[in-house]
């Protein structure tokens, strides 16, 4: 693959105005699928399900099977629509989107086309420095997910060069809400940041609604990013590309930046942009062309004859509206106050897309400051090193459990980091890691005193200095004791005991 030429970002922005658009697919965590009563793999109850064990006749398009709409999925969709500030359609309906693909059991996707359940809304998002940006929402519609293909053979496990593919229909029929923005103007040099903040805001909304697990690494939340550039002063929109399935907030930011630089280089050289889908490559941080848009994209939409219109009553809409959680920006202000964070501290959390994680860690019993330090510190560091989302590494409950051990004096900060490392590596719960690695602080004074006496005996000059009142000299002894205890001692207690022993 030829390497793309990129124009330097600031130069690109000088010449062109970026226009963004996003399509975010949210997998709902209902107990069952959108159109069948098979278990929903996007619900945590079903994460361990083996291939093709969550399949009802309609999910695999068996002859004679029929879809029936999941009422809870409709309620969730309405709630999400309301949270996005949308109007809820008095009547919306399903349509068939026809195309052949082996992961599509019926060879059509049941979606909503000309009559989505929610339309015309907006989301206010907060950038790192507290700036508020309003993202206009075009629509949110209900549809079903496709199954999963695994490509086998060839060198890469990628679709190209595979010998054959295996199809699992567990995911086929998982309820999705697709949220489509209108074109976002005026993003300018903040375009990548807005992209990330938008996805973070959607994630926060669905988490606070409790309608999705919103784990991007599991595909619960998937973002397609549309980017186009237009020369400064031009009215007409440029040709856009659609970068598919960018599955972390970090990647959304990077992909948008990359597309701006790539398109700018082409335009600046007098070239034209091809309207196409593009794929994001996490490893190289680049996009590559997918299928060009063509006449073959004739989905032959028509109203789904097996399903009836959805006509929510005003009473239902008002009931769901009354139960909505606060909007993201209001929530930010509340949490910042409750947690007592400085602007900078709070922005750190928001920028990292870690608001839900910190909130859940606090809910599990950790102090806000400690929760923040863990997520923006150690966990984010590991996540960056591994190129994954911090939220994918560890559950908030485990972080809180680690902090509890610190608060109880069972772990030092340093030991706690090792415990967390073990939890991230899949060695078990914090307590299991403590036990297996033998990481608890030695709180038995007898063992400490023995080590202290040894160290004092080995360094008689230090002992003398301490007795002379030069208390800071104790550091050398403390260091030796900590070393002897392989770090598993509480340094403050060691200090106390050293002074006690030296004085006696």
């Amino acid at each position: 693959m030829a390497k793309d030429k990129l124009l330097e970002f600031d130069k690109a922005l000088e010449l062109y105005e970026p226009v963004l658009g996003f399509e975010v697919h949210v997998e709902l965590n209902t107990a069952t699928k959108m159109f069948s009563s098979a278990g929903n793999p996007a619900n945590s109850a079903n994460h361990e399900a083996g291939p093709n064990t969550l399949v009802a006749p309609v999910d695999m398009g068996l002859p004679g099977s029929l879809p029936v709409v999941n009422e809870t999925a409709v309620r969730y969709s309405i709630s999400l629509g309301l949270a996005l500030g949308c109007s809820i359609a008095p009547s919306s309906r399903f349509a068939r989107k026809n195309y052949f693909y082996p992961d599509l059991g019926k060879n059509y996707q049941i979606s909503q086309y000309d009559e989505p359940i929610a339309f015309e809304g907006s989301v206010e998002i907060e950038l790192g420095d507290g700036t508020l940006v309003t993202v206009p929402i075009e629509r949110a519609h209900m549809e079903e997910d496709a199954g999963k293909l695994t490509h086998v053979g060839g060198s890469t496990g990628r679709i190209q060069g595979a010998e054959y593919s295996l199809v699992d229909y567990n995911r086929a029929g998982v309820p999705l809400v697709e949220i489509v923005t209108k074109p976002i103007f005026g993003a300018e040099h903040r375009a990548p940041e807005i992209a990330k903040a938008y996805v973070a805001a959607i994630r926060d909304i669905v988490i606070s609604l409790g309608i999705s697990e919103a784990r991007m690494e599991r595909g619960n939340l998937r973002c397609d990013a549309n980017v186009s550039l237009r020369p400064r002063g031009q009215e007409k929109l440029g040709t856009r590309t659609e970068t598919k399935n960018v599955n972390s907030m970090r990647s959304v930011e990077r992909a948008v930046r990359y597309e701006i630089q790539r398109q700018a280089a082409i335009l600046a050289a007098g070239g034209t942009i091809t309207q196409e889908t593009r794929h994001w490559h996490e490893d190289t941080g680049t996009t590559s062309p997918g299928r060009p848009k063509s006449d073959a994209d004739d989905y032959r939409y028509f109203p789904e004859p097996d399903l009836l219109p959805v006509e929510p009553s005003l009473a239902l809409i008002e009931e769901l509206r009354a139960a909505l959680p606060e909007p993201p920006v209001v929530r930010h202000r509340r949490l910042k106050g409750e947690w007592g964070f400085t602007d900078l501290e709070f922005q750190d959390v928001v920028n990292g897309g870690l608001l839900a994680e910190v909130e859940q860690t606090v809910a599990a019993g950790a102090a806000p400051a400690a929760a923040r330090k863990w997520w923006t510190g150690e966990i984010s560091r590991v996540a960056n090193a591994q190129g994954v989302e911090a939220s994918s590494l560890v559950e908030p409950q485990a972080v809180a459990a680690v902090q509890k051990l610190v608060d109880a004096g069972t772990l030092t900060d340093k030991l706690a980091r090792q415990v967390l490392e073990g939890v991230i590596a899949g060695e078990g719960t914090p307590q299991e890691v403590v036990d297996a690695r033998g990481l608890a602080v030695v709180s038995d004074d007898g063992a400490l005193i023995a080590a202290i006496d040894d160290a004092l005996a080995a360094q008689p000059d230090v002992l003398a200095k301490i007795r002379d009142g030069k208390v800071q000299a104790a550091g050398a002894v403390i260091g030796a004791v900590m070393k002897a205890m392989r770090g598993q001692a509480d340094a403050a207690r060691v200090r106390e005991l050293v002074l006690e022993r030296a004085g006696s």
Binding site: I159, P305, L308
Partner: protein, 99 residues
């Protein structure tokens, strides 16, 4: 006369995933032309003020409670599979693009 041409029929064959021979394309072009001429008359009375009917008996809000049931066993899922491996359906390589 309608606008059915062999190229259009060939394109429709691609959309419908039916590999039509030249002979079939030729025959279908002629037949579809006649059929379409006969059915195009629907537009004579389908004026803008007439609403479309997609369901003969119009119901709404037909929902299912979010309760599990109706699941097939893996054996049932794969019962008629032309080819399968590792509990999944096996198909020959796909060179197209995911949609």
């Amino acid at each position: 006369m309608s606008e059915i041409t062999p190229d259009l029929v060939r394109h429709l064959g691609v959309l419908a995933r039916i590999q039509l021979s030249d002979e079939e394309v030729e025959r279908l072009t002629g037949q579809l032309d006649v059929i379409v001429d006969n059915i195009a008359k629907v537009s004579e009375v389908a004026t803008p003020e007439v609403p479309a009917t997609s369901h003969p008996i119009r119901l709404h809000n037909v929902f299912r409670p979010d309760v599990a049931g109706d699941m097939l066993t893996v054996e049932q899922v794969l019962q008629n599979a032309p080819d399968a491996a590792d509990g999944r359906f096996r198909v020959t390589a796909i060179l197209g693009e995911e949609q």
